[in-house]
Symmetry: C2
Amino acid sequence: MKIGILGGAGRAGAFIYQEAQARGHEPVAIVRNEAKAKAKLGDEAHLLVKDTFDLTAADLVPFDAIVDALSVPWGSGKGYLHLDMATHIMHLLRDTQAIALFIIGSSSLEINGQVIYHTFDATTAQQPWFDGARYQYFEYIYLQMNPEVNWIAVSPAMAFPTGPKTGYLRGKDELLVDEAGNSQISTGNMAAAILDELEQPSAIHSRFTVRDK
Amino acid sequence: MKIGILGGAGRAGAFIYQEAQARGHEPVAIVRNEAKAKAKLGDEAHLLVKDTFDLTAADLVPFDAIVDALSVPWGSGKGYLHLDMATHIMHLLRDTQAIALFIIGSSSLEINGQVIYHTFDATTAQQPWFDGARYQYFEYIYLQMNPEVNWIAVSPAMAFPTGPKTGYLRGKDELLVDEAGNSQISTGNMAAAILDELEQPSAIHSRFTVRDK
């Protein structure tokens, strides 16, 4: 499978790139900074060096799947870029059969049936991560308006630390928490879950979530 | 006021252009087809000849307001372009003070407090206008996710025929119907309502509706 990874040299994206490569797929990291991407992925890495908003439909034609692993810096006040990047990618993929998989935040998940985003209060809104969480919640609402594109969304658990592949569990809308009360998915396990889903898609037009096993 | 009108040579857009000009503003019709626009608006018309999706943030810098009067042909199966054009324009206007006014459909309005879109059934979904109506409903949901842009939405009455300015009444979320049971706004009256709103904005981050008086 030819897989374009937006933010493919980022914290999660690099794990996805490496997992795809290890499985014999053809990943391409879509990045803005070539030097930074090569430092992370190696000089032989397959790159498409372009800003997300400069991508055209023609750029994406070669890909069977696109993974949006883009991040927006906390506190930048530009959380809306999560939404804008998603709307741009979706526009480019209209009338194609490509799969578009978006990593969205955990705030659209539920705890005991209640959407986490709806539990946020004025204090939460002061947190540096809130702006991005809000627009990733909106991103999920936006995705659900679009039956014409083969989109899939994945929410990490509450914590999403950098770490290796060790095994994961999968759920749907409820935040996953382990027996000790921890809700966590490593970047390595997220990468494995994403590749498993791309190889055998079962969540098109919906969202799933994962935690470390 | 410098006003960029997307679809400014279209059925509604041309009325908006002419109303803005008559009031001493500086309208610019943003169009794809220069010859067609000149045939409609005159050889002296101020044009920006560009496809909506090729517009850049720099293109929109000169404008105090942008009006989205774009249409999508019924039955084209491309109703999603309503949503995609809105998301592109909103992205270009991030971190600006410009007003962005979107003409959306009437299906997001209410009848006796119930949203019209929610009353649609499988038969409705067969109608040639349904695809566009659906995505204009989604467009309204999308707009409400975006406090960072000074957006305004306006819904026409049920019928939106071509006709002159004769006077209009304004409402908020309930579909407006006259004493005889007609729900209609002419393109001329819509243009007047839009210019009135742009000159003295009172609906930023919300939607209003209009009917012929």
